[in-house]
Symmetry: C4
Subunit: 302 residues, 4 copies
Amino acid sequence: MPGPDEEQTHDVTQPAGPVAWPDGGRAAAFLGFDMDAEDVALTVDPESRNRLSAMSHQAYGPLTGMPRVLDLLTRHDLRATFFCPGYTAERYPDLLRRVRDEGHEIAHHGYLHEAIAGMTRQQEADVLDRGLDALERVVGVRPVGYRAPMWETTYASAELLLDRGFVYDSSLMDSDLPYELAERPGAGARSIVEIPVAWALDDWEQFAFVPDLFGPGVIEDPAKALALWTGELTEAHRHGSCFTLTIHPFLSGRLGRLRALETLIETMAGLSGLWFATGREIAEHVRSLALTPRVFPQPEIR
Amino acid sequence: MPGPDEEQTHDVTQPAGPVAWPDGGRAAAFLGFDMDAEDVALTVDPESRNRLSAMSHQAYGPLTGMPRVLDLLTRHDLRATFFCPGYTAERYPDLLRRVRDEGHEIAHHGYLHEAIAGMTRQQEADVLDRGLDALERVVGVRPVGYRAPMWETTYASAELLLDRGFVYDSSLMDSDLPYELAERPGAGARSIVEIPVAWALDDWEQFAFVPDLFGPGVIEDPAKALALWTGELTEAHRHGSCFTLTIHPFLSGRLGRLRALETLIETMAGLSGLWFATGREIAEHVRSLALTPRVFPQPEIR
Amino acid sequence: MPGPDEEQTHDVTQPAGPVAWPDGGRAAAFLGFDMDAEDVALTVDPESRNRLSAMSHQAYGPLTGMPRVLDLLTRHDLRATFFCPGYTAERYPDLLRRVRDEGHEIAHHGYLHEAIAGMTRQQEADVLDRGLDALERVVGVRPVGYRAPMWETTYASAELLLDRGFVYDSSLMDSDLPYELAERPGAGARSIVEIPVAWALDDWEQFAFVPDLFGPGVIEDPAKALALWTGELTEAHRHGSCFTLTIHPFLSGRLGRLRALETLIETMAGLSGLWFATGREIAEHVRSLALTPRVFPQPEIR
Amino acid sequence: MPGPDEEQTHDVTQPAGPVAWPDGGRAAAFLGFDMDAEDVALTVDPESRNRLSAMSHQAYGPLTGMPRVLDLLTRHDLRATFFCPGYTAERYPDLLRRVRDEGHEIAHHGYLHEAIAGMTRQQEADVLDRGLDALERVVGVRPVGYRAPMWETTYASAELLLDRGFVYDSSLMDSDLPYELAERPGAGARSIVEIPVAWALDDWEQFAFVPDLFGPGVIEDPAKALALWTGELTEAHRHGSCFTLTIHPFLSGRLGRLRALETLIETMAGLSGLWFATGREIAEHVRSLALTPRVFPQPEIR
């Protein structure tokens, strides 16, 4: 791995290549629900456990948003992926069972929605194991997919995930296409499927606000988020890309926002050759393409 | 109360159930005015008392916004709920008497709009008593409703409110429906009616800005807030929910914003079976339904 | 002056009453230009004087925005009020002379756009004198109007202004109508005319951004600001109020924003009975009405 | 150079004058791409090098956005200017070669996207040299144009740039027109062509967000940015100005945003007499006009 100002004649990383979708499909849509609840507040500030109103704001997700989300998916006969912190799973076991029993994919999203930036490799591993243990105990699920809480991964994450049998991650942002990510530069490295996310395709930046915890304090009209997402969806469809939308039920479970999401889903249904898939289905398809793994050498500063 | 990672076969809290509205009504609308004035600035920074401009900004509520709000409600023959800090009541007694004499409900909103997060139980109790004393002295009102300043409650709040004869609280955010909230887990607990609020249905996030005191610095067009609220109102009506809108006269008393609010009220009037009610009316109705109280066990972090 | 929790049977302050406009006019429009330039940045951070790009951003006002603003006013045959920090006057004397010679009002806006919150009475007086001296030396103007930098006044401001011959202030926010403001509670107090401002009627919150100096980082489309302001203008016209708009040439001198401002001015021209006036004209009219001065007792916290 | 409160009968700086465009053109459009990638994050927080997700977010620019941008320009047969940090050039040499080989201008944008505010003259010079060295080594380019990272220049920048053979800078904000900028006040000073930028004509404020690194957390719909920019473009065309738009491929390379950019380019194509030019072409044209250099005396605070 050449450093940035050593002799180097090629870019350190090549762009992700185009992906052939199954059955001659034109593009893909991946709808992922991040089931953050009390945990995401507790991680930001453990003292928030004493703030009943803030806790209730987070509980809106599992208590009110999730049943609506599940009904919506059933209404449209769709299967989606639910990224669930272990803490949420333990606190809402009946809900998790319903997600599983209705045929959706349950994937890993940390234990207490921990921001792993700054953690040691061992700490990161412990969080992964704790989340795995919770999902196994509560719903007997051994997930193949992972999305990092706060979309924060380290250069150790891929290896830690592969060691635990994960097939895909969905936390990076360098492409609109899934790809194979090498666990490290160099020969003999294993790879994990990466399905990238995007801040623009996340309801958090449009709607999230809890005083002293998160959010800039601006709350958007769902119509604005819908226009933004529909624009990206249309272009993703046109370009054969993968439209990866992240929805938080504690935010988008609100009635007006859910209506916007349903409108988006109806728009998806009208797009010819759009493959609506879970993370696992996309990952398995990508794996079948035997793509050359990509490498992200860690930047050095000199 | 099982901890989050002990054996547990049911979710710690069940979702709020659907509510049957009076007279076969389809949905409810609860318009609450938070009468924050100088107090909300003084709480954030006591030194703001030396900032005449900031004080005048807050005084816009009682001096300019409130008379317009009261006229608007009279024009539409509506009775609403006014959550009033004790400090505002003491400073603007004539205004409070007008609110009372025009048949509106006066409810509790702290004394100096105190953020109770981090307070001891005794401090929280003292604030409640101080607010009660002010409302009693100024307008002879013993309120049955409470909305926590900054929508901050603790796990002690319900018990403290019940001890003082309150019938309902309106500060939590886990549902769009009112419900009975147990004061604590376990047998023999009393319950209080909860009418949840929502940051998206609050004019603060759309309009509030005082340098060095609050607000992100973005000020929205009332048309944007109106579109957002109308969307939520329409869906609440469709789903049989309770549309709970929070208005601050020091913000929405501005002419253009008040016009938007009036348009929203006109839209409400056109929705069949929408029950426009005060917090007290909703609480009494909910109480008559004899619902099973809900419990929110406090999250533990291990 | 009764304290907030002593016996008190009337509100500490009465609302501003309706104003009869000259010649049977229906409402008033007061367009004020705050000529903040390098000073407003230097006040926030004196080290910004080494940041040439930031200084040039502020210089956009006098160099590029102001000539356009003056041309615009001439094109519509309007006279407006320019609130000018002494520092700007000293740095751009030719510009100030042009403002004066084209018949506009020049008013006081501090010396270095100082935030007077936290200043002693003497410091506040010194800033006033320094600004007066600059305006007198550069353009020979003894202003009768004052707008506090950052719209920050103290409970001493009115007296300090009256001692220096000012007739009006335009920095408070409790009303949409001008009024007489008593310099202090009690008998024998003099009064100053107050023409209130509003954060919603200020281009700063729509457009201002300089990294590490000010602005939340969101920059709005002029069409959004125009819609917001037009809505308030329409309502002000309908209610007989005073539409007081604050424009910063370093912001709204940008071409697209100036086009929006011109559209607003064209809308004003089409509103029957709308009196377009300078601050001085409004103040003199208000004075002629011999209104009862209003008092703002300073809040106490107990 | 007279100080701000000494005798002075002329403004310290005169406004930039109107510019005659080549071939009787009516106005100019200058599309500049700031090729910030990992460097802009590493500069804000060196520890971000451990955050793979954040690094991948930045890598979206060179890996995904840039190829699309280059295709777009080819599709419209346009040549644009790419301001490239040395670090990006070293990390993505193939990409830089493609930019060069497709006929675009490569210009200087720091080495690690360093904020030079607070740097000594020597430090600033070192950064310039390091960036020059990188561009020369990677693509054999000796740039004539410079845009300061974060648009931060000092009062030493012009001289340092002229010493290194630069012809133009594009980092100031006092005008919408290019001009000659004197390296210092006084006789015998050399001058550099300045092509000003504007925060409102930058995609950063509309779209940038990386937690703990930058962005207010609000992400706009591309349609809003397009409306804002189209409004400014239309006015620039009408006024004979120079429309200088700054695009970051790590942001606007997103599909929906790129579509908006293409729409804007199509609008440009329909404006008669609009000269679409690189920074170098504009600078050479301005130089040919032999304009009187402008001077920005550094503000003093007394």
